[in-house]
Symmetry: C2
Subunit: 199 residues, 2 copies
Amino acid sequence: MPLPKSFTNLVSNLTILPGVGEKTAERYVYSLYEKEMDEIENLSQSLLDFKKNIRTCKNCGCLSDFDECEICTESGRDKSTICVVEDSKSVFFIEKTGKYRGYYHVLNGLISPIEGINPEDLNIEKLLKERINDDVKEIIIALNPSIEGEVTSMYLQKLLDKYDVKVSRLSYGIPMGSDIEYLDPIMISKALDDRKIIS
Amino acid sequence: MPLPKSFTNLVSNLTILPGVGEKTAERYVYSLYEKEMDEIENLSQSLLDFKKNIRTCKNCGCLSDFDECEICTESGRDKSTICVVEDSKSVFFIEKTGKYRGYYHVLNGLISPIEGINPEDLNIEKLLKERINDDVKEIIIALNPSIEGEVTSMYLQKLLDKYDVKVSRLSYGIPMGSDIEYLDPIMISKALDDRKIIS
């Protein structure tokens, strides 16, 4: 007997989610059957809204509903620091700590020769050519403490040597091998406090 | 800084999925950002299609896109047996084995006084009043071997005593591929009770 088409269709479409195989997708679908129509409609609509509206900020590269993100356009932020991060996840996470009031620059990746990601694939040129102006006194490199993060840090450090800015990185209060988004806010705040000048 | 609205909306709508909290939902959303528009549209549309089309078969209670499910309307099935199961999941699962060619009856739940589920909340009356006809020779009770499953089995068994049908249940036993020493004593004693003469 073929399963209901609307059922198998939804199962197969749900498997585009990361880590969701057929079994998990089926569990989701059985549970969605119990939901009210308006919950399903909201989910369905929010998927479309997200895909239609979300883009990267033309300035810092962070995910936003607008061409310029809400951090870049927020008044009263500290113009003297730019915090360089791997992705928008890191921005949202650091923002949650409430500790940092400067601007961000999102690389949208890390250098990884194994995965074929080279420096020119990252949002680096924009940082150097457009974002470092006379107001900027410090660049904080806040990348994951992984091999790729370290390599990218060193690469950026070298490039930034030519500019009249302090370059710092998050202190190793953060445990090696971890992922920034899974650390608790206090740890991140401490690491911001203890950041080290590296050049 | 508030996160992009389209982002937070989608995160909160995804948390209606079972076992999906904010962290997992965020992981899904970051991954959905990388997907093509048509993949998102397909997922969005299949959610609506599912909710609009899916219903329970008026005959057996199984999930279907039609008023009568594809098993109930399939010609050539064995009219002499009805397999009573807890939910549509069990139907789809038993169908995958290809072993059973009779009909099904879906209770859509199990008796559970703790959760306030009483016999009258289940799809039992229909089974007794409309589905047991002269063609039906055997009712196979295929419920989970849990407390609720056992209670429901016993309840059904009592009711079915009044009808001229054989009542059977799935055999209890040691699961294929298991190791006897790791099974619990109850399972072993059930397997001893249900032992089969082999010569």
